[in-house]
């Protein structure tokens, strides 16, 4: 069952996505990122933004993916509530769906500054599920 969660870090927030493939784990981690700001359920999926990135390994690819989302959130003043990720080797292509920030409806909590290498991990757990996690500086 794919899911996301936050995990503790003293100053900031850890995001963790789980799923049966890295693609799904990355989608879930992205939901975790949105949840740092607002409840993903409050986000309408009106607009689509395409994201492409490439990295030397899957872990840096996760950091790149989350940082690409942070960049789009910041420059478009948007929040994203749905993601479709396709990872081919070390290349990621994705569609992020969301809407412009509505401060009354979304009540944004904090602004993510950047995804970090802290607690960075992309790998398979013992149960075969893929995990994608890192700490986000807020």
């Amino acid at each position: 069952m794919p899911d996301w969660e936050h995990f503790p870090h003293e100053a900031d927030i850890g995001v963790r996505g789980r799923g049966e493939s890295p693609d799904i784990a990355f989608e879930q981690a992205a939901l975790g990122l949105t949840a740092v700001v607002t409840d993903p359920g409050r986000v309408r999926n009106d607009e689509q933004v395409a994201i492409r990135c490439e990295a030397p390994n899957l872990e840096i690819l996760l950091v790149d993916w989350l940082n690409a989302l942070i960049y789009e959130m910041n420059t478009r003043s948007m929040l994203f509530g749905r993601f479709r990720v396709a990872i081919d080797g070390l290349r990621l292509s994705a569609e992020a769906e969301g809407e412009r920030i509505d401060r009354l409806r979304h009540e944004p909590v904090v602004e993510p500054k950047g995804a970090t290498f802290t607690e960075l991990r992309v790998g398979r757990d013992d149960d075969g599920q893929w995990v994608a996690q890192c700490v986000v500086d807020v």
Partner: protein, 476 residues
């Protein structure tokens, strides 16, 4: 934190000798209680910093030390470029030159109490804060370049303040060596709508009263007396700084092996100061510093506008502006020899002592003001740098209380609306865009800033001058 391996030098100084790959010891400035409260990662990270090439004297941890990115927050380390010393994007952080600026008002608490409600509403309306807020100032590419070169001086030239302000800002408001060419288009576009915005998280603007004075001679020189009202602004380089941090952290982490740096931890991403990426980062980071200085200058102007409307008799001269997340090239005397070193202060404040030539003439006898922000609803402090601090910690001190509880736990434990009500009962008015944000910033989520400041004072790295209590607070 397990302190067994530490040697106690004094009540507030502890030493972890260099072992294994460490090239220098770790020096902790903190008392036993503060050390006990630090997580293990602080020792690990400070020890990792001590393994980096070109480190000089020691890897330092301030009394508010906590778990950071590569460097502990509250971490200080100096590097010699001629000895293969490094610059670390993690040692500066995402929020380049996040800092605190304090303005005097010439008002007394009794002047402000009757108009507190009006004041907080006006500040909340006029100073953009929180995610999704935009500033009034939108820069095209050419103007952005000017801003990245000029910092606060650029802002003042555009009418956001006066030349007198520059004397009271580190680097006189404009960091030398900024290279806007090394700031990416992405970093620039992140900043386009964010000039003059407060940000969110632990950023704030507070109107405060001087509650207690500890060093009357210094307080007098700073024109601070009990019941005086001041304004403190805490924010940084916004999206531009964050993007610079993001991009260079990645580049340095990937390039470390190529430079022959054995990174004990990927997040300690760094590069030789004399490498191509090291030089580019210094140029970009300095531009980021200017962005933060310009940002705080614009917010100062907005604050002055509010006061001129609500409390027209107020004048808001700048007391001082300090930065926490920087790497600066400075001269320090080591074993009797002056050396040019690159000092990283990650969640740590520059605290130059009396007589330092970098200080403006009016402050040279007393030392550099060190502004310590407390958490929301608690207290803040004004300290000054000391002569002995120059040798103890490269003229560096702590920057705040530091968190003792994750945001995750804080928002489970507290309700923002209840906190705001409780603070209002105590006479502190808080306005924020987000109730959950308020919960994450609950006073109980932070360490005791009084204990942090007391330890810094006893250690000799800074000297207590005045304690400030909040009256009004706006946050994003």
């Amino acid at each position: 934190m397990d302190i067994t391996p530490l040697q106690q030098i004094s009540k507030d100084e502890w030493r972890l000798p260099a072992t294994g790959k460490m090239r220098a010891p770790v020096i902790f400035y903190a008392d036993r209680a503060l050390l006990d409260g630090m997580d293990e990662k602080v020792r690990t990270q400070a020890s990792n910093v001590a393994t980096l090439p070109g480190i000089v004297k020691a890897s330092y941890v301030m009394p508010d030390g906590h778990w950071g990115y590569g460097f502990p927050i509250g971490g200080v380390a100096g590097f010699d470029a001629s000895e293969g010393g490094v610059v670390s994007a993690g040692g500066v952080g995402f929020d380049i030159s996040c800092g605190v600026r304090c303005l005097r008002t010439g008002l007394r608490a009794d002047d402000v109490e009757p108009v507190k409600e009006r004041l907080v509403e006006a500040l909340f309306r006029h100073v953009p804060a929180g995610l999704g807020s935009t500033g009034q100032v939108h820069l095209d590419d050419a103007e952005m370049t000017e801003m990245l070169l000029g910092g606060a001086r650029w802002a003042i030239d555009r009418g956001y303040g006066s030349r007198e302000d520059l004397e009271r800002i580190e680097e006189r408001g404009s960091m030398r060596g900024a290279e806007p060419a090394h700031v990416s288009p992405k970093a620039r576009s992140r900043q386009q709508d964010e000039m003059g915005t407060l940000g969110s998280g632990n950023h704030y603007l507070e109107v405060q009263r001087v509650a207690e004075v500890f060093a009357p001679d210094v307080a007098s020189a700073l024109s601070l007396a009990v019941d005086d009202v001041v304004v403190s602004i805490h924010c940084g380089s916004r999206g531009l700084g964050h993007q610079i941090g993001t991009e260079y952290l990645r580049e340095m982490a990937i390039a470390a092996a190529k430079h022959g740096i054995d990174l004990p931890d990927r997040e300690l991403a760094c590069a030789p100061l004399r490498s191509e990426v090291g030089r580019r980062y210094l140029g970009a980071m300095r531009a980021g510093i200017n962005c933060a200085l310009a940002n705080r200058q614009i917010i100062t102007h907005l604050t002055r506008e509010v006061f001129s409307d609500v409390l027209p008799k107020a004048e808001l001269p700048l007391l001082y502006d300090v930065s926490h997340n920087t790497c600066k090239e400075e001269e320090h005397v080591v074993d009797g020899v002056p050396r040019r070193l690159f000092i990283h202060r990650k969640g740590a404040t520059r605290a130059f002592g009396p007589g330092h030539p970098e200080l403006p003439v009016q402050l040279r006898d007393i030392g550099q003001p060190v502004l310590i922000g407390g958490s929301m609803g608690t207290e803040s402090w004004v300290l000054v740098g000391t002569a002995e601090g120059m040798a103890l910690s490269f003229g560096s001190a702590c920057h705040g209380a530091g968190r003792r509880m994750s945001r995750h736990r804080a928002k489970k434990q507290w309700r923002g609306s209840k906190l705001i009500k409780n603070l209002a009962h105590r006479g502190i008015l808080v306005r924020s865009v987000s109730m959950r944000g308020v919960a994450e910033e609950a006073p109980g989520a932070y360490k005791d800033v009084r204990a942090v400041v007391a330890s810094a004072d006893r250690a000799g790295i800074a000297r207590k001058v005045a304690r400030l209590e909040p009256m009004v607070c706006i946050k994003g």
